[in-house]
């Protein structure tokens, strides 16, 4: 059974450091905030699932660095942001596997939806110094795709309701999230 951590930032800039010694899931919800996150996977065979979900109104940054300090450690990062206005949103996402750590899995998926003409940047970095690592990254910046809107609307769903469905699906991107722990964030989605 993995340890589960909930973090909700509301208009604040915070630093977080986690030294992980057991399987952990972190749900990090951020409303118009900047965050600096450092994670050390400090025990062999541990896994980390990190879900970062962010609603952004001003210029903000999200830095996250995952250090695979032990063998056979596993990280999966899912970073989703919605950039509401014409501001800057930057994600720097580092996965680090030194030569001393073998058979690690280090994956990251980063997506920012620009609701307006915001300047969003994603820097996905995989700093791998070992040959036996399984590692992938993806990055998408843009709007919700036209084909997705068309599909939803072709079933009678209005544009506004379709947007709301997509926003909820995008920002609450795990079925296991306990909704009562993130009420503030859920309320914020409704305001977008």
């Amino acid at each position: 059974m993995a340890k589960i951590i909930y973090v909700v930032d509301d208009n604040e800039n915070k630093n977080y450091k986690y030294n992980i010694k057991e399987d952990t899931i972190i749900y990090h919800f951020s409303i118009n905030s900047s965050s600096d996150v450092e994670i050390n996977l400090d025990k062999e065979d541990v896994s980390l699932y990190y879900y970062y979900n962010n609603i952004n109104y001003d210029d903000n940054k999200f830095n996250i660095k995952v250090n695979h300090n032990k063998n056979n450690t596993h990280s999966e990062l899912f970073n989703h942001g919605v950039n509401v206005f014409c501001n800057k949103l930057m994600y720097y996402v580092d996965g680090v596997v030194p030569k001393s750590s073998s058979k690690c899995i280090c994956n990251q998926d980063n997506q920012i939806i620009n609701m307006d003409n915001g300047k969003s940047t994603i820097c996905p970095n995989l700093l791998i110094d070992n040959y036996d690592v399984d590692s992938n990254h993806s990055a998408y910046i843009g709007k919700f795709k036209d084909e997705v809107m068309f599909y939803l609307m072709s079933r009678g769903i209005s544009r506004e309701v379709a947007y709301r469905l997509l926003l909820n699906g995008f920002l609450i991107n795990s079925d296991c999230i306990e909704k009562d722990k993130i009420k503030l964030f859920l309320d914020e989605i409704e305001k977008i």
């Binding site: 609307m153 072709s154 009678g156 209005s158 469905l165 699906g169 991107n173």
Partner: protein, 250 residues
């Protein structure tokens, strides 16, 4: 029910005209099939009817139940009763099948959908199309096989109860058993809703053996060139489009 007169449509922002003087009338309870060579405009017709963002109607009339639908939003066309069963249904990550269907049903009917009765209805509908009930809670079409996607389209039409169904290459990507199941479900839907009309777009007559058409049309270069009964479909399969004198060069 559906009347298309002298319709011209092109790719948006490009000078590529695809539908050229296309006309077709489909009465209620009728089943029509359109066949034709690749690139002749069959799927474009389906998308234009539904109001797809890639195409623009330049002239002509599309009338559904007596109303011109050419300026209606996509969702308003669906609310009037049009349903496009897509050739390659879109994957939507994060939006569960159940959330999507419940929302769509609420939007179509204008009524709040009771969760308990919805889940109960879905359970039996999913059994009918031979889909595992766990798929209701998965992201829409994500990780679904080709066959499961098509079954999911048919599940949607059973829930949303349209008046006019467009089947755009329903048979592509379906094995024989899956094709039989989805066609049986469409036929039972039509039995329950006998006013329903169907437009089938296909390359092969196999689907027409399950859903019997009243008319088969051959479309070439953006318009209908020949009309007949189901025998025309078998002739096309045997002799090709050149053999039936549809205007296609050999």
């Amino acid at each position: 029910m559906l009347e298309i007169n002298h319709l011209y449509a092109k790719v948006k922002d490009k000078d590529v005209e695809i539908l050229k003087d296309f006309s077709l009338k489909i009465n209620s309870s009728e089943v029509h099939a359109i066949m034709g060579p690749n690139g002749t405009g069959k799927s474009t017709l389906a998308k234009v009817l539904m109001g797809h963002y890639s195409y623009e109607v330049t002239s002509g009339v599309m009338s559904f139940l007596g109303e011109d639908i050419s300026t209606l939003e996509v969702n308003d066309r669906a609310k009037r009763g049009l349903f496009l069963c897509m050739q390659d249904p879109t994957v939507i990550e994060g939006v569960s099948n159940s959330e999507f269907l419940r929302t769509a049903k609420g939007e179509i009917t204008g009524e709040k959908v009771n969760l308990y009765s919805f889940i109960k209805d879905m359970d039996s509908a999913m059994k009918c199309v031979n889909l595992d009930s766990s798929m209701l809670h998965r992201s829409l079409n994500q990780g679904f096989s080709g066959g499961e996607k098509k079954k999911n389209e048919v599940l949607q039409l059973k829930v949303l109860k349209p008046k006019f169904i467009i089947l755009d290459e329903l048979d592509s990507g379906l094995d024989v058993d899956s094709l039989r199941i989805v066609c049986e479900n469409i036929n039972s839907y039509v039995e329950e809703n006998p006013e329903t009309s169907i437009l089938i777009i296909t390359h092969y007559p196999r689907i027409l053996e399950y859903i019997k058409p009243d008319y088969v049309h051959v479309m070439v270069d953006g318009k209908i060139q020949k009309t007949g009964n189901i025998d025309l479909a078998f002739t096309v399969e045997k002799d090709g489009y050149v053999g039936i004198g549809s205007g296609v060069d050999g």
